[in-house]
Symmetry: C2
Subunit: 355 residues, 2 copies
DNA sequence: GCGAGTTGTTCAAGTAGTTTACTTGGGCGA
DNA sequence: TCGCCCAAGTAAACTACTTGAACAACTCGC
């Protein structure tokens, strides 16, 4: 049994087995056929007994590969937990480890502000640890954009979730198929008979380009139907006026019969505003959300929403990074992968009252 | 601008500034007063221009400290997200980075089974990367228990959440004050007038010692009241029979007027069973949960529960590990920190119907 | 007794820096 | 003009290994 407080080194193993340092190294790396079986056993046994384990810091220095991927995500909802889960499982297949950092502040969800400088400092910590690649949620695109140059120079592959950078030929991206999903949402409402429809978007700041796309595709899909109108609202920059905007929508002269909220978080705001105004869902107003967050099915009534495939998104993001690391063929430029999503019809949508 | 694909080394900086390697190293580490100010500027400028950044792998090798702490948690609910958030923020103050691995499988929540061998392999990955400390959720105590010896030998401080190991003098632990919280739950129900009370525990497997403590403290608190009775149920080993057990409770000859579920997950089962049996909450049956998970307030009716302080738990766990690393005084044995929790009264509890 | 194969050895260089101990050059006082 | 000191800077050893090359025993068949 080794002395407490002493981390066993290869040297200790070699001495215990009575072989040279390099022999021990080779045997433990699996170069077994150069040595007698009895010697191999001795070395393996000694390593086992001393509790020696390979020092990946050394490998990292020598090969330039640390077998880690940095992941930068916001800290809050079940969508990101699922994404992370996908990332973990895919990276594990290649014996990679994600190192996750969280930007933004918990409990200001989902409309927290991110401190750009702080975010950059955190990414720096990842790069200082020589992560082989990065998976990013680019909350403040601009802030990270400046950093991307350095990443490209260092050949650190980057995959961005829900924010398209492929036009700039800078990073791969993975996102939900916004066009198709928005069309499905619109179709659902139109089929139910709704013609006066509201859309509650998020803050639509730089890092929320998905919200803009989602809203625009939705608007386009609704207005392509003759006689249907959309009117859109959005939260303020800090996302602090959610309830007010939700109430505003419900009292608008347009008298919308349905509201599409670009995420379930905004849908929840509509629920709250509806309760205050004593409007019933779906009798007085239909509500449809997006993301199928974990609370969606437990709302009263259960929320009709669009289920994204966060686990798959996470997996694909990880795969993208791993593939770039494997091939390192800069030849083919950045790609964008679009993942489909599924409409989940629950009880918050119904035909409008005939008035 | 450096050539693409070339990670700048200290050597490059030194050459660009026209100084020796060691001079560059010293200056970049802040040992400025040993050198002429003009030389310092030259080195700093060169480092900036080349985009050089310190390689923490090297520091890790040399000092034996990687400034990382491994975190092993289950992958699912908001409690653990909050714990993780606390861990992150506390570690950040010391410029440490958590490396989080998830054991267990998503979407079997909360009753997933953990593959012991897989869990050990994952911890191995952390140790191979030479994490300085560990924060553990010991799902399968036994599996990790064997590993603890190695950790002690390596002087890797360990903090365990919600599972007391301090009796074994092996690891620090942090947990919710189960005794006080269980008493508060019992008191709340007794004060409302309930006298026939059920308790739905979790699986109570080895890694869920918190569930056992929580239930026992609750039973004790209830029975200390004259005329009050408790009857307890638990889930099966795999946690697959939740709905059945919940229904069984509601149909029990005892005719309980209130149910304490040891977590909000189990409380949700009661809600589901109640709906099937057409029992109203709280009119027919009061329900009280534990944890105040993110869905608790959105249940219908909003769930009365006990709000743990997961962010604080995470913080304290991180602090414990950091303190051990700072002092390395093995002198004082493992401690257990108990964090208080707060009863949140919502609408799922009410006085029993007078029958 | 010679070459060949097996089983190891030592040596040296590499990874990206940090740190100890040293050298160099100039200015200053005696 | 010698000796001394200090500022400024450097060579080399060190972290824990990996890896290629050269080489040394020993055994075996021929």
């Amino acid at each position: 049994m080794p002395a407490s407080g002493h981390v066993p080194r290869l040297k200790d193993v070699a001495e215990a087995a009575g072989v040279s340092l390099s022999a021990a190294s080779r045997i433990l790396r699996g170069e077994v056929d150069r040595f007698g079986p009895e010697t191999c056993d001795r070395v393996l046994a000694a390593a086992q007994k001393l509790g020696w384990r390979r020092n990946l810091l050394v490998s990292g220095m020598q090969t330039g590969r640390t077998k880690t991927v940095g992941v930068v995500i916001p800290p809050f909802d079940s969508f990101w937990v699922d994404v992370l889960s996908g990332v973990h499982s895919e990276l594990a297949t290649a014996d990679y480890l994600p190192i996750t950092i969280w930007v933004g502040d918990l409990h200001q969800m989902p409309h927290f502000e991110m401190d750009e400088a702080e975010g950059l400092k955190k990414i720096s910590r990842l790069l200082d640890r020589r992560v082989d690649g990065l998976i990013l949620w680019p909350s403040v695109g601009a802030a990270y954009y400046g950093h991307f140059r350095e990443l490209v120079e260092r050949n650190v592959p980057v995959a961005v979730i829900d924010h398209e950078y492929s036009e700039d030929r800078i990073a791969d991206s993975i996102e939900t198929d916004e066009e198709e999903s928005a069309r499905a949402v619109a179709q659902h409402l139109l089929t139910l008979g709704h013609r006066r429809i509201a859309c509650l978007s998020s803050r639509e700041v730089a890092g929320q380009s998905w919200a803009i796309r989602r809203r625009k595709f939705f608007e386009r899909a609704v207005t392509s139907e003759r006689g249907a109108q959309v009117k859109s609202w959005r939260l303020n920059e800090k996302g602090t006026n959610g309830l007010d905007v939700a109430a505003e929508i419900l009292r608008d002269p347009l008298q919308p019969t349905a509201v599409f909220a670009v995420t379930d978080h905004e849908a929840r705001l509509i629920y709250q505003a509806a309760e205050r105004l004593r409007l019933r869902i779906p009798e007085d107003i239909s509500v449809i959300g997006f993301a199928d967050l974990d609370f969606a099915a437990d709302l009263a009534p259960p929320l009709t929403t669009v289920r994204q495939r966060p686990v798959e998104i996470g997996r694909r993001a990880a795969r993208l990074v791993l593939d770039r690391l494997d091939q390192a063929d800069l030849a083919d430029g950045p790609t964008t992968i679009r993942i489909p999503a599924d409409l989940i019809v629950r009880n918050s949508t119904a035909p409008p009252r005939s008035t």
